[in-house]
């Protein structure tokens, strides 16, 4: 048990990811306000992006531009560029989703005069 805890502490980035993910998920599940739900959703997306970036980081590594073209490439001295590129795409996707979500929220507010899920459900019946 103690070993497991120590193993987790060895990788604080994973711990941070789990905390942010669960925090976002908790907000999504427990809050009635639709905008707060969107905030929770965005936290979940961000946590996954954070995870992607954190697995590509290396100690003492530099940007992935070749330092020398004559020597053989030392993979350990460059950060992995691919997850960063994926992250950019994932951020764009996340922003687009959030945009549509906020537009829906605005339309819901105009229609029902409230953003509270319980009030909206009451009006739906």
């Amino acid at each position: 048990m103690v070993d497991a805890f120590l193993a987790v502490l060895q990788r604080p980035n994973f711990l941070a990811f789990v905390i942010i993910f669960l925090w976002g998920f908790y907000i999504m599940v427990t809050r009635y306000n639709l905008v707060k739900k969107l905030i929770g959703m965005y936290l979940v997306q961000t946590s996954v992006i954070f995870f992607l970036v954190s697995i590509s980081a290396k100690k003492g590594a530099t940007v992935p531009v070749l330092l020398s073209t004559t020597e053989p490439v030392q993979a350990a001295s460059y950060a992995n560029p691919l997850p960063h590129v994926l992250t950019l795409t994932a951020i764009v996707v996340g922003v687009a989703t959030l945009g549509v979500g906020l537009a829906l929220c605005a339309a819901i507010y105009r229609e029902y005069g409230s953003l509270d899920e319980e009030e909206i459900l009451k009006k739906l019946e």
């Binding site: 996954v48 996707v93 687009a96 989703t97 549509v100 829906l104 229609e111 739906l124």
Partner: protein, 489 residues
């Protein structure tokens, strides 16, 4: 030229979608013919592509010359090409149908409405072709974002349903992305065919199991597998009449396709992780989904809600077929997927016509249809035969091959589940027809002119397709067995 077909198929609807707001700036009524023409060309190209794949084997399309594993690869194999013919044909029918039902108060925004439909079709094309796990994620999200917006168009209750779909769908996409990053962390590649080479040495990795589970949960939300189905019925019920057929027939099926591409093409399907055979799990979840979905459908009184739950139960039947792990079951599952897409489209076309022409929302109003439109009732009877699975229709042969596959695998629980869901399907259609033919419910006569031509065309084509798929089930299943099977099955 022929090796460019996958890219052409994707770019056709995409370019039409992007250029539409500009082209139709002054002439908004052009948007309908342009969409129809684009998708009609897409149907032809997809048939050409299928022919090409059958004669010359699969096409691997590499974007801008970056070879695998560095670049993004698209795979047009037999399965993708068959599904693509279905996708473009149903997209075309959906757009043709849209012409007479599109929400009246959209005004100038009608152009964006068609833009979104074309964007949805192009994104679905991307999912079908994607040979790269991250690429798949991007198209999954493009398809999802266009569906959220399209559902929200109807206003009213649809807004709230679309919001729920958005929150759940995004959670699913995030989980899928998380799974992809796990697999990337373990294997160091995102390309499916490259990953296949690296996986056998890594099967004991816990990260791999975790990644697979996250991906599965993510895609299960997208394909509305019980118990992740809660967004689907409301979203499809309150969506505009013209959008429900496209969404119901395509979006969930394509997510399902993505799932079995991952499990069969990337992971070797027969693998056992921690003493749990993955396929058995898939079949068990399918069993659960098909019985629960059909029972919930029986409890509905809203017409579209009933059909939506019917769709959920059929996702389960397809999963049962796929989960048997033998050729018969797989071909049966894919064949049933084709049939189910056509039947779902047909049922929602029916619901759309019944609402637009006769104001029918719940099954209690259906008596009006029975009295005033015998042809409409006739097409519903054919669709019901297909849904229940009686011989002249494709639904019967799909279930037949799935049951044969289950018997071959000795999986009698699956056989029982398919039969039970068939009985439940029969029960809710009996309930429906009882309402149609009951004379007392016709007190409210809605004045309606003739049924517009697009309605007749779409309903006629889907009804005919259900029968044709049944009559030609032999050659189609043989085609699937010859060209669409995963390697090593």
């Amino acid at each position: 030229m022929s090796h460019q077909l996958p890219a052409i198929l994707f770019l056709l609807p995409l370019f039409a979608a992007i250029s539409m707001p500009v082209v139709c700036l002054k002439h908004r009524h052009w948007s309908y013919p342009i969409s129809v023409a684009t998708l009609a060309v897409m149907v032809l190209v997809s048939i050409l592509n299928l022919q090409n794949v059958i004669h010359h084997g699969e096409v691997r399309y590499v974007f801008s010359g970056w070879t695998v594993p560095l670049g993004i690869e698209w795979v047009a194999d037999g399965l993708a090409s068959v599904i693509l013919v279905l996708l473009s044909a149903l997209g075309l029918l959906g757009v043709v149908f849209t012409g007479s039902t599109s929400p009246k108060d959209l005004g100038g925004r009608i152009v964006h409405y068609y833009t979104l439909i074309l964007l949805l079709v192009s994104a679905l094309t991307g999912i079908v072709f994607a040979g790269d796990l991250f690429n798949l994620f991007v198209f999954l999200e493009v398809a999802a974002i266009s569906s959220y917006a399209l559902i929200g168009v109807a206003g009213g209750r649809a807004l709230f349903a679309a919001f729920r779909y958005l929150v759940l769908g995004t959670l699913g996409a995030s989980l899928y992305l998380l799974g992809v990053s796990y697999l990337y962390a373990v294997t160091g590649t995102l390309n499916m065919s490259d990953m296949v080479d690296k996986l056998p040495f890594l099967l004991s990795s816990k990260a791999l199991v975790g990644g697979l589970i996250f991906m599965f949960i993510g895609l299960a939300i997208k394909m509305a597998l019980v118990p992740f189905h809660s967004w689907l019925p409301e979203a499809y019920t309150y969506a505009p009449e013209s959008i429900s057929p496209i969404l119901a027939s395509l979006v969930t099926k394509v997510a399902l396709l993505a799932w079995f591409r991952i499990i069969y093409w990337v992971f070797n399907a027969s693998i056992v992780i921690n003493d749990i055979p993955i396929l058995l799990l898939v079949a068990a979840l399918g069993t659960l989904a098909t019985v629960i979905g059909a029972s919930l459908a029986l409890a509905q009184r809203d017409l579209k809600m009933m059909f939506a739950y019917g769709g959920i139960s059929h996702i389960g039947i397809i999963l049962i077929g796929i989960g048997q792990g033998n050729q018969t079951g797989f071909a049966g599952g894919v064949f049933y997927l084709l049939n189910d897409a056509v039947m779902q489209a047909g049922l929602f076309f029916f619901a759309g016509v019944a609402f637009c022409q006769y104001g029918v929302r719940t099954i209690d109003d259906l008596g009006r249809v029975g009295k005033q439109a015998p042809w409409l009732t006739g097409s519903l009877i054919v669709m019901a035969l297909g849904m229940v699975g009686l011989p002249p229709t494709g639904g019967f042969f799909g279930k037949w091959y799935i049951i044969l596959g289950a018997l071959e695998a000795g999986n009698y629980v699956s056989v029982a589940a398919v039969l039970l869901s068939t009985l439940l399907t029969l029960a809710y259609f009996v309930k429906l027809f009882e309402c149609i033919f009951r004379q007392s419910s016709t007190q409210l006569d809605v004045q309606s002119g003739g049924i517009p031509f697009p309605f007749k065309l779409t309903l006629g084509v889907t009804t005919a397709a259900i029968i044709i798929l049944g009559l030609f089930s032999g050659p189609i299943v043989q085609l699937l067995l010859d060209h669409a099977l995963p390697p090593g099955l």
